[in-house]
Structures are given as structure tokens and as C-alpha cells.
Symmetry: C2
Subunit: 320 residues, 2 copies
């Protein structure tokens, strides 16, 4: 018996969880950016359109990073031109620097994201900046974006561990996160870039932000499933009042610095849990699974999402 | 940087969790029973010995089911003869009926498990009994086992959903579970045989047992990761006071009735979470990962455990 999802087995609320969660879908950007083979722009546009039809309302579509660094996203401007506006759907774009902001402004983008680091080593490797100097780099980007009426989201990476530095103190993460928010960002997404975090760590970090005056209404969580912890960590974050969760359709993506190819929390696995918990997302799981199966066929590789594997056809994306 | 586990990134306790969790390792029985190719008995014995050396103290080794039904476990008696006693390590054996009990008694087994169903359809298909008549079948088995000084564990399957019946009411599960405990079983393991459960459902079921006078100290949880929910569900169970968790090394196994091959909660993924939460298990993750890598090579198939994939060599068990 194939059901449309967990709600077919009953919906059981858990004390203290929010009634509604917004999923920030990162598949087209964070998911596809690590694909070695270039995905045609029309496939990307169709992917975004399908995600919107499945009910996702925040779809991070691409990045105005220099094509030399991420050739997969060299088609950013062309992709944006192909997106059809859908009522209530936001299409944020990652912007690494002032030149990226110029390109976003040229295309009429209304919402961007910046990508900071909680650790010194990753700031140097990924941003070519120090942990401290990154804020000076981001300040004029955010200021100009706000002046043009854009909304700006901030990512903070390596919040739970760093492949070079190991453990990352909660206080260090909170300090960096507060600095990004103070630039004028409306939301801070806390990234477990290498997937090592566990639920108590999530709670401790959210408590640390609360103690610094940053409540869960300004925070999102961004977990990677490298060690299988993403959904348990999400549950811990929801218990602490977080209502925005980053996820990637089909579990696309993964950090090139992590030890395995396993990527972001799969949107389908998240929706399965939230449906069963009676938490509203507005996302139709059947339609989302169909989208990931469709994309897996285009990528020639099966989805890593447990839900997609269980509900999709056995041969989706080729044999495993 | 490869660390020995999540504790390398700090241990962060979560309010209300137990200080210590006992892992009931089911890999050799529940994991291997679904393997199509017969695994040599010496490999199974070595697998069990390695699990014990990794610190697991409850290892369900095999089943005295009729070889016609599970050819993989036809070597049950021979495997038991090969096991070396280890201090503090228990080797329970599944016993489906009176004939199975005879064989267990012949071999000097001191701990058995029986396998009941929470639904009518699965009772008929798996036990050839009705939901009601299964208790009459188990009663003489448990009574005779207790008379011989054995400990008896009870499994209850399909506690969160059934592939034929869909939703399974909490009250129905509690009624069936109480009946099994009342036979004299020391522990009841609540199985999500098809992996559809979500954390609120877990909490509701444990609340249902508590209302019927059965506290978490008599309950264990047994989750399958078919839809990626196993670890989040485990976290919900721990929050409710459960201290015994079933898991399978490398995520071996899976229910043949489920829609995907994804099996039991992987012991490694569980240990990663518990280490990070500062919950004692006595299990050495490095040694356990090595064991699963070793077995994957023998099975010619990579482990499905996220932790094993991340920490093990990239070519373990052949390419994926």
C-alpha cells in the first residue's frame, strides 16, 4: 500500500512544536552547485517551477558567485530570466560580494543571501577573508541591498564543527551570528556544514542565541545528513521554537569539504516528519517526490532521500 | 580530519534524557535474516564476536524459526555452539513457537524473544494466527521458558502502521503489548516494522502505555529507517524515558513487506547521536564502524549507515 505520506498513519502533535514550519528549499542552489556535470538551464527552470507547484514558497534558485568557482551556476542570470513569478513564492539568490550584488540588482532580484563563516579556517578558505574581516566585506553588500529594498538572509557555516578546527565553541558561533544579523539581515541560517551536530548541541546553540537576545523567530537551521543526524537535529530545533528549516529536494547536494557525499537534509524526509506531527508546511509530498524522481532521471543518479527511495519507482535515476 | 565520533565536537546533554542507554543489537538476526545469499556460519560468529568486542552487551544472534521460512538462519544451532561467552554480554535468540523453544533449551540458551503482532493482518500472515489467538500460542512458550529460568523479551510489530491496514490505533497496540507483558516477558520492544512512524506518534504510544500502567523501564523501541525517521523517533522515545533501543550494525536488514530495502536504524548512527548527547552506551564507535566495514566487504555491498559511509573507506563493500 503506497500512501501519500505519513499522515495516512495518523497525525500526532508533539508538545511545544510550532503549528507551521516554512521550508527554505535550497535544492536548485546548494543542491545542484556540487553536481559535476552541468545541468541545462531549462532543466533547472523546470525544477524550480515544479518545486513551486509542490507548494514550496521559498526557493533559493542560484548564486551570483564567479563562474570560475562554481561553473554549475554560471547560468544564474539566464535561469532568473526563465523563472515564472508565482503568487507567494520567493526566489532568493546567493550573493557572495559586491559584484554579485551588482548582477542581482541588474536582474531585479528582491531577496538575497550572504554566506558567512563561524570559523577562521573556513572563512579563509571559502571567503578569502578572516573570521573578523568577513563582516567588513559583507557590510557594504548588505547596506546597498537594503537601500534597494531587498531582503537579506545570512548563512553562517560550520556552526557545529569544522573539518580543520574540530569543535567550534557556541560563544564563537553566537558572536559571529549576531554580527551578521546586526548588519541588517532579517534571518540567520545556522549551518551544520559537515553534518556532525547532535540534538543537544542544537539546543545549546539556540539557547546561546536566546541569551544574546536573538530569539528563534530570527533563526533558521540548515542541517546536513552526513552522519544521519539531520532530522533528529531538526526536531530539537523545532522544540526550541525555530520555524524555518532549510532542506534540499531529494537530499541533493553536500559539502565538498565533508567526508561523504551525503548532502542536505532531504525535503521529503522533513515533510514526512512534519506531516506526521501535524505541522503545516503547505507542501504536497506526492508532488515533491515526483519532482525528485524526475530530477534523478535527468541527473542519472538515484535520490538519497529515504522517502524518495521508498515511494518513488525502484528504477528512478538508474540502478544504485 | 577523521574523528572517532561526534564527541570530538563536544558533548551536549539534552534535558530529560537518560544518562545511559542500552543498545539491543539485532544485526546478526534481524539484519542478516533478509540477506538472500547464505552467509557462512563462521562469518556470523566472527560478526557477533566483533560486536561484543565493540562494547555491545545485548546481541540477538539468531532465530530458531523453521529453516523453510528463513533459510539464512538454518545454522542457528551451529552458530550458538561457536559463540564465545563474554562477561556481561547477553545473546538472546528469537523463538517463534514451542518447537523453537525445544531447540533453544537443547542448546542451553538463557534468553529468548518472541515476536507478536499488533495487527490482525500481520498476525495472520506472519504467525498464521489471529491477533487474539497469538497470545494462546505464546502462553505455553513463555511459561515453559520461565520455568527453565530463561528471560523472555517480546517484540510487537506494526505498532505505527501496517502495510495492509494502514493506520493502527494506539489503544490496539497498547492492548496487545500489555497482553504480551502479562505473559511474563521482562521487556516489550515496540516495532515500527514499516518505518512510517513520526516523533509525536512515538510519544503518544509511550503515553498510552504509561496510562495502562506500563512505564518506559519495561519498553524498548525498534525503528526502521525506511522513511528516514528512525533517529528522530528514537530521540522522542528517549525524551519519554525509554533506555533500551534496538539497532542493527551498519543498518543491516529491513522488512520484506516494506516498500524499500532500507532497514533497521543503524547502530552507528544511533551511537553518533548518543555520544554527542553525552549519553553512555559503552560502545566504541570506531570499532563498530570497522566491524560494519568488514561485514560489508563479506556481503559485497556497502553499508547503508550514514556514519559508516562517512567514516569507512570509500570502497567498502564495493562501489555503490
Amino acid at each position: 500500500m503506497t500512501t501519500a505520506g505519513s499522515a495516512g498513519y495518523g497525525a500526532y502533535r508533539l508538545d511545544g512544536l510550532p503549528a507551521r514550519v516554512t521550508i527554505h528549499e535550497v535544492g536548485p542552489r546548494d543542491g545542484l552547485q556540487n553536481e559535476a556535470a552541468i545541468v541545462p538551464v531549462e532543466v533547472k527552470a523546470e525544477f524550480v517551477a515544479r518545486l513551486a507547484r509542490a507548494g514550496l514558497t521559498r526557493i533559493e534558485t542560484t548564486s551570483f558567485v564567479h563562474p570560475k568557482w562554481v561553473p554549475q551556476l554560471a547560468d544564474a542570470a539566464e535561469l532568473l530570466d526563465r523563472l515564472e513569478p508565482a503568487p507567494g513564492v520567493r526566489y532568493p539568490v546567493l550573493v557572495p560580494n559586491e559584484r554579485g550584488l551588482d548582477r542581482a540588482l541588474e536582474r531585479g532580484v528582491t531577496e538575497i543571501a550572504i554566506f558567512g563563516s563561524a570559523t577562521e579556517t573556513f572563512a579563509r578558505r571559502n571567503l578569502n577573508q578572516g573570521l573578523e574581516s568577513q563582516f567588513a566585506m559583507f557590510a557594504p553588500v548588505v547596506e546597498r541591498a537594503l537601500r534597494h529594498g531587498m531582503k537579506v538572509r545570512a548563512y553562517l557555516s560550520m556552526c557545529f564543527g569544522d573539518p580543520w578546527e574540530g569543535a567550534v565553541p557556541v560563544e564563537q558561533v553566537v558572536r559571529a551570528g549576531v554580527r551578521l544579523l546586526d548588519l541588517g539581515c532579517f534571518e540567520l541560517s545556522l549551518g551544520d556544514t559537515i553534518g556532525v551536530g547532535t540534538p543537544g548541541h542544537v539546543a545549546a546553540l539556540l539557547d546561546g542565541f536566546a541569551a544574546a537576545g536573538v530569539g528563534p523567530e530570527r533563526l533558521a537551521v540548515h542541517f546536513h545528513d552526513t552522519y544521519g543526524q539531520a532530522l533528529a537535529n531538526t526536531l530539537a530545533a523545532l522544540t526550541k521554537g525555530v520555524t524555518v528549516v532549510d532542506a534540499s529536494a531529494g537530499g541533493l547536494g553536500g559539502c565538498p569539504y565533508a567526508e561523504s557525499a551525503t548532502g542536505n537534509l532531504a525535503t521529503e524526509d522533513l515533510v514526512w516528519m512534519l506531516d506526521g506531527l501535524g505541522v503545516e508546511t503547505g507542501v504536497d509530498l506526492t508532488s515533491l517526490v515526483e519532482t525528485s524522481v524526475w530530477l534523478a532521471d535527468r541527473l542519472g543518479r538515484p535520490s538519497v532521500s529515504r522517502v524518495v527511495r521508498a515511494l518513488g519507482p525502484a528504477d528512478a535515476g538508474g540502478s544504485d
